[in-house]
Subunit: 275 residues, 4 copies
């Protein structure tokens, strides 16, 4: 009668490990998360340094050993997560589960495909866990506002992107006809690449119009790209201005509990009760 | 007495074809539109691939055959549209009618003018039909909001563009005097092209000031262009913030005539009367 | 007794000329203004074409004759304006008076200083008269809103520009120390020019950092410049959103004639009278 | 009895010097500040000119003498400030105290480290004192609005910068794999530098993708960078639109508690009660 819910020794251990690895609200869990973040940062740095020819030539061996150490650590962590997760299948298929797996594969793949280690920078995605140990409510709220504004404007942004791509396609083909191969506009895809470079105001200058008519058309495209940036900016600004944070009363209606009343409302917009 | 409205066999067929080709709300009409979009996409891709030298050298023959197949298909479709349209003249003069015609002409023109096939990418404009099979109300609404915001700001944008062109003209002439032919500022039109490239922050670098005074003037132009982008952006933002669609009902309260109710409001936020 | 206010013949002519030249609300005045605008456009085009080496070599003589014809026409117009103006001194010192004078001087100066004809593009400023024959009220209102928004934000923009210049100065000096003459950062002014080119996202690429630490600093400067553009844009957007056009009732208070009431106001905010 | 608060002669002098050096509201204090600003400007100009090879070769000696004169002046001023400050320790550790110290050190350091004089441009930071003699309330208010808007959006901006850095890291590594050393993408850090140059739309063109797949990915990055600028712009715009300064009083109506009155309102716009 005293031990009906007593777990077995194994499941007790599993629960404790789960708490440390998956939660950030206990001292041990927070310490684990911070250590993990530093390890990820160091591991990404190792990959970056290994790609620099001079450094790789001199410190190639220790860097590769470090890489293996990090990979083995992350592999162990991955299996530990599967082991202690109450629903392993769900973790494996989750976003973080996939990132964790993809973060260790390239090192093993490097046995078969040379150079695949550079893919290890995908580990940077693991840094997204940083939001776990920051003031969650705060940042999650901010990210929420941004994502909501983007979501609310997704149709407008689709229309905008469609218009941009159509301009790029038609401008690219026109410039290919006007400038031609002798001025670097080798093909329609290359000309479209130039149109993107120009319209987004990046302007590498590796391809540039030389004929008068080409320069006139390019000028039109530039002014178009320069002005059209106003559209997505306006869309997002408008959404953020309208976003309820700071704009809408937090007070719920005393009668029907509807939220989201304007500050100047004196009656509930839903049931008409006095606020 | 039983067949006063009975159409002839021909006009019956015509009506059915019309429904399939021009409408998207029947299964057959929707299937036709989707098939059409894929055909247009493939045809645009064919033109793009044909322009790449390597691919054209190897697969030139099949690509050109494909091009003819697409052109003949689109020609057939064009005449079918004229045939089944209740008012053919109106279709021919409509925006889509013109685009449909211009989409097939270049292939026939290529008999007379070499290279005119590249103009076939104009077919991309036919992709605008995509809006027909998407959730119309949704996207038409969004495009409407964007177009309205642009329309409401057209006078402000005209004033803005006029100011930009005047700055480009005067800056171009000044830089032509200062830098001169030896630094690539060959003529006033070329210098104006440079001014557009600089002011829109594209910055190819094919022409760049070399003298100290030229660099100072260019810096002023850059900071002007960098800051002035705020103006169209602000204009469009302000219009979108003000645009009522999706945010505020136009209907006033029947009791107190307060406006600006949210779309989900059922009672006036001011006096509590039923809307 | 019948002719006490009868003007002399001269002053009558003067008044008629004044009406044609200075006003745009009579048919003759409007026709004069339109002819003037076309003449200015053609004259600017002449200067632009004359600067292109190929065209100047072939058509140099007629172009120069045209230039003299335009200059003589504008000189005649200038003196006519002085003659018929009721207060000539005021016209001469006005903005348009100065532009009119500056628009004819370079041709005469070209006797003494070679190449000064390029300055004739300053004639483009005369095109500002275009606003006279457009729907004045409309465009003047729009320009007014834009100028008001800019005026209201001038202190914020001053603070912003001061910050930008300080960053440019300090970044320029730092990059001069780090990269040095061998990488194109010849002097502090040159490095500051590079900093402006980079921060405004123009990016010619004629000067670019080569050392690792220089590239890191340049990256910081780029992200700063990329993000900081949000500040003037936000300032202007906010001002335009607040600008009363379309936001504020046109109705004045019946009691005290105060204007600028919000749309949801039911009482005058100044005297409390019912609206 | 008559001299209980009489200060000693020294502390009297100290107080007068303090008033001139630290305050700007007396004529002497204002004159001192203006003279100081001009001295700082001249001193920064001296450093800039000294860095230009041609000028340094010809006027090197007088420029270096000037530099020493300015440094000695600023050193004297620094010690005077410490002397007359009522709490010297606080001044030394304050922002301006540190800037004042750092502004004189490089000249002395140049005995030991050649070239360190260029660091003297840090003196430009001393120009921030300019706000002391301008209409303080005005500018401080504006700077306050801007800083508040930035502070209110700091979490959103952190989220945004984190996203940008992650894209730069992953895009840089991917392009390093795709383009490789032969196209200038020497290492992951170099590729990340390219990603920053591209995403911020600077686009030097010193490194540019050459392979088709690289150009496609670069196009995606450009459109991303071009569109994503909308996010910080929207954030700052929204904050500035919401910022109440200059637009709306915080005071509610005493009778009906309506908020959002204009600053010039003397009666409640809702019920007409006196504010």
């Amino acid at each position: 009668m005293t031990e009906p819910q007593s777990p077995t020794h194994t499941s007790d251990l599993r629960r404790r490990v789960h708490e440390i690895i998956f939660k950030a609200d206990t001292p041990a869990g927070k310490a684990f998360d911070i250590a993990l973040l530093w390890t990820i940062l160091l591991s990404v740095l190792t990959v970056m340094l290994d790609s620099v020819a001079d450094i790789s030539a001199e410190y190639g061996r220790p860097l590769r050993i470090l890489e293996w150490v990090f990979t083995l650590l992350f592999t162990a962590e991955y299996f530990l997560r599967i082991y202690c997760s109450p629903r392993p299948g769900r973790y494996i298929r989750s976003f973080f589960g996939l990132v964790d797996l993809v973060s260790i594969l390239p090192t093993y793949l490097s046995f078969f495909i040379a150079g695949s280690q550079s893919l290890l920078v995908i580990r940077a995605l693991r840094l997204l866990r940083v939001f776990r140990i920051l003031n969650l409510a705060q940042y999650r709220g901010e990210a929420h506002v941004l994502l909501n504004a983007l979501k609310a404007s997704r149709h407008k942004i689709t229309v905008f992107l469609g218009a941009v791509l159509m301009v790029v396609l038609i401008m690219g083909a026109t410039m290919y006809l006007i400038e031609g191969k002798e001025h670097g506009f080798d093909s329609i895809p290359t000309s479209m690449y130039w149109a993107v470079v120009t319209m987004t105001t990046v302007g590498y200058g590796d391809i540039a119009p030389q004929t008068v008519i080409g320069q006139v058309l390019a000028s039109v495209l530039m002014i178009l790209g320069y002005g059209i940036i106003a559209v997505p900016t306006g869309i997002v600004s408008a959404e953020l201005v309208r976003s309820p944070v700071g704009d809408v009363r937090k007070q719920a209606c005393p009668a029907c509990e509807t939220k989201g009343h304007d500050f100047d409302a004196t009656h509930c917009k839903h049931c008409g009760a006095k606020l």
